[in-house]
Structure formats: structure tokens, C-alpha cells
Subunit: 222 residues, 2 copies
DNA sequence: ACCTGAACACCGTTCAAGT
DNA sequence: ACCTGAACACCGTTCAAGT
């Protein structure tokens, strides 16, 4: 029975990944602003100052969190022998899945992230896929950025509508809420918006995400 | 000489727009985090608590700032008789111009904004343009979101690379800096990235913004 | 209505001191 | 190396009291 002396909180043995796990839990349950050095320290059973043993500052924790989450997306699909559109679409859907399960860190993702190590390999694999699409290197690179802009933009807009703290309502509920909000609209002031309310409510659907990505890919292939 | 009694700071007479002007100046000169109730109060010559006469809380100030900036973009081009692609492209370039002049508030724009009054009219006008493109209402709506995703995504990624506080280096300088950073890259680990470094460095150019938008519009018209 | 002064309940970060 | 306890310099927000 050689249990290490367990004091106070839920601490067992602390290292960087323990801290990151606790940080993610805090962000998931209260948004980015719920991640404070004090709440995080309490979560792992430490004093706030002790966290500086593992990370230089709060920003480094957020960055590490972003990169860890990015790494959770399955990049291997980009390296399969599937048709290039399917590779890109499947990866994008997977990334969206991961990030919408943790909507609280998405603002940070756009803020400081797409230059981390994971982003680099995603970029390289994207260039592979677009080369397979028959695009010359220069055009493949431009197209690659087009894909990233669309994917990250769509995820950011969707994540922004998910209130922090809750575990993200299912898609149909989120769409229904948007549809209800669009009901309180002056039809004469915004006739086209009013007429297309059902479609607009479904902007945050997987179907719309796919549709838009497909159109983008179509345009990129020229 | 009936000057009102001028005390202390740069105060003359304070109202909501005075506060917003000062808030924007703070964000421009130090990013969103430089906008504190205390710094803002000092800027307009008030006590922090007095700001709550004009806005319910800090978040309301940020939201009002976003909407004011959005309103600065010229939406009238969307209502011209120009070809639909030109209307959308010109508006998008104008929006990008406005927002990249104030990169500090862009995170807030994506965070809470595209449902303000300005966003509504932009959406309606976008539907006009896409109807003129010959798209049926449902498809025009989906396409409209595609355009917003691309435009906001591109602006967000660009703004994220502009360090706060500085007045945003000119485009060629930003590209040169990216090019230099890409020089410190292992060519064998990321061969395609290395080979396309010049193009990748220029991701943040007006030219790339236009190119990607053009491809998106091409895809949307099918 | 508008504003001050002061307080309350927080922050991130640093640092001597201990183990 | 890792951690505590305490401090420093901040935050947003509230509220009695004044005009």
C-alpha cells in the first residue's frame, strides 16, 4: 500500500498533461474566461504560483490547449488514396467535429494558432491532395489557403453561437433556436431574409458546411 | 466665451459616441485587452463607475464598437447596378479594409457580432446580388453564407497575424516577414510547403483575398 | 440623470522561503 | 525541481452619497 501522500484537491501527480486536461475541462464547462490560474490550480490541487513550473504564463497554456485539440483531428485521412475531394472533406468534417465539441477554445484557435506544428503538417497534406487534383504548385498553395479560410471561418461562426458552459445542444436544436429568432423579424424590411428563413436557420448544419466546402472545392478546381 | 467648465482629462462633454471613440482608440493602440473600464474612464475624463451610465457593462461597449465599425463599411456598393460579382467583391474588399485598420476588434467581431442590425442588411443585400446571379432563393441563401464564411474567415486569419499596438505594417512588409519565417523550415519534412513558400507568404495579400473570393463565387454560381 | 469615492470580489504574475 | 504563502499591481462591477 505505497500510496503517495494525497493532499487536498484531486491531485495525484501533476505534469503538463495533467494541467492541460484540467484546463480543457474548465474551458468546456465555462468558456475561455473560466480558465484562470487560480481555478486551474485548484483543479489540480496546487497553488497558482506552482503552475509557472509547467508553463511560462496563461497564454502558453491556451496555446498548448489549441495545439493539443488540433492534434486530436484525424489528419491521416488526408494521406489516404481516396479521391482528393473526399480526403479534404472528411478531414474538414472531423476537425469541425472535434472543435465544436470544445467551442470555448475556438476563438483562441483563430487568434494565435494556425502556425503551430500541427497546422504545418495539415498544410503539407492539403498540398498533397490538391496536387493530386491536378493543380500546379502555385495554384495548389492558393487553393490550400482557400480551404483553410473556409473551414476555419465556418467553424468559428458556428462556435460563436454556442453558449459557453453548456455541452453544445444538438444540431437540430440549434437550428430550431435560430429559426425561432428569425421569426421576430420585420418581413418588409428584410423580405429575402424572411423568405429564406428556413435555409438561414440551417446555416449551422453539417449539411450547409458540406455544401459550402463542396462549392469552394468546385471553384478551386476551376 | 461661454466655455463649459473643463476639468481634468480630455473631457469636454461625454456621451455614448465619445466613449466609443475613446474605446476604439484604446483598442487600436493596444488591442482588446487595453480596453479596460479604468483606462477608458481616464481617457474620457470620468471615474470607472460613471461609464455604467452609458453602457450596462464592458461587453456592451465591445459589441457597440463592432457594430459601429461594421457600419463603416460601404454597403451601398451592394445595391448598385453593377454585375453581381463586382458588387460582392467590392463590398468584401471594403470591409476587409475597414477591419484590417482595426485588427484588435476582429476577434470580437467573430465572437459576438454577425447578428447585429448591420449584419442583417448586409445579408439582405447579399441575397439581392445572388438573386441577380440567377440563383433560386434557397441556393442564394446558402451561397450568401458561403460568402460570409469566406470573407470573415479570411479577415480573421489576417487580423490574427497583426500584432496589437502597432498601426499594422503595410502588406508587402507583412508578406516579407512571413517569407522570412518560412525560411526557417525543414525542407525535407515539408517539401511542398517549402517549394511554395513565396505563395504561402502572400496568403495575407489583397491579391490572394480576391483570388479566393473569386474562386468561391465561381463555385457558388456552379 | 450623471458622477464620485470607495469598496468587493476577483485577476495574472513574482518571489522569498521551504522541501 | 517543485511548491507554498504572501504580496503587487491590476481587473469589472456595485452602490451610497452628492449635484
Amino acid at each position: 500500500m505505497a500510496m503517495p501522500p494525497r493532499k487536498r484537491g484531486p491531485r495525484r501527480s501533476v505534469d503538463r498533461s495533467t494541467v492541460l486536461d484540467a484546463a480543457l475541462a474548465l474551458v468546456d464547462s465555462g468558456g475561455l474566461q473560466a480558465l484562470t490560474m487560480r481555478s486551474l490550480a485548484a483543479e489540480v490541487g496546487l497553488t497558482p504560483g506552482a503552475l509557472y513550473t509547467y508553463f511560462p504564463d496563461r497564454a502558453a497554456i491556451v496555446s498548448a490547449l489549441v495545439d493539443a485539440l488540433l492534434a486530436e483531428a484525424d489528419t491521416s485521412v488526408l494521406a489516404t488514396a481516396w479521391p482528393w475531394q473526399e480526403r479534404i472533406t472528411t478531414f474538414a468534417l472531423g476537425l469541425r467535429d472535434v472543435l465544436l465539441r470544445h467551442p470555448g477554445i475556438v476563438p483562441a484557435l483563430l487568434g494565435d494558432a494556425f502556425r503551430g506544428p500541427v497546422a504545418l503538417t495539415v498544410g503539407e497534406r492539403l498540398l498533397d491532395a490538391l496536387a493530386d487534383a491536378g493543380l500546379p504548385p502555385d495554384e495548389a498553395a492558393r487553393a490550400s489557403y482557400g480551404v483553410m479560410v473556409y473551414v476555419l471561418g465556418a467553424i468559428a461562426l458556428e462556435a460563436a453561437e454556442i453558449p459557453p458552459g453548456a455541452p453544445a445542444a444538438p444540431e437540430d436544436v440549434r437550428i430550431a433556436e435560430r429559426r425561432a429568432a428569425l421569426g421576430h423579424l420585420d418581413p418588409s424590411a428584410h423580405p429575402r431574409t424572411h423568405a429564406a428563413a428556413d435555409t438561414i436557420a440551417a446555416y449551422v448544419s453539417t449539411d450547409q458546411f458540406r455544401w459550402g466546402l463542396n462549392r469552394m472545392l468546385t471553384g478551386l478546381r476551376r
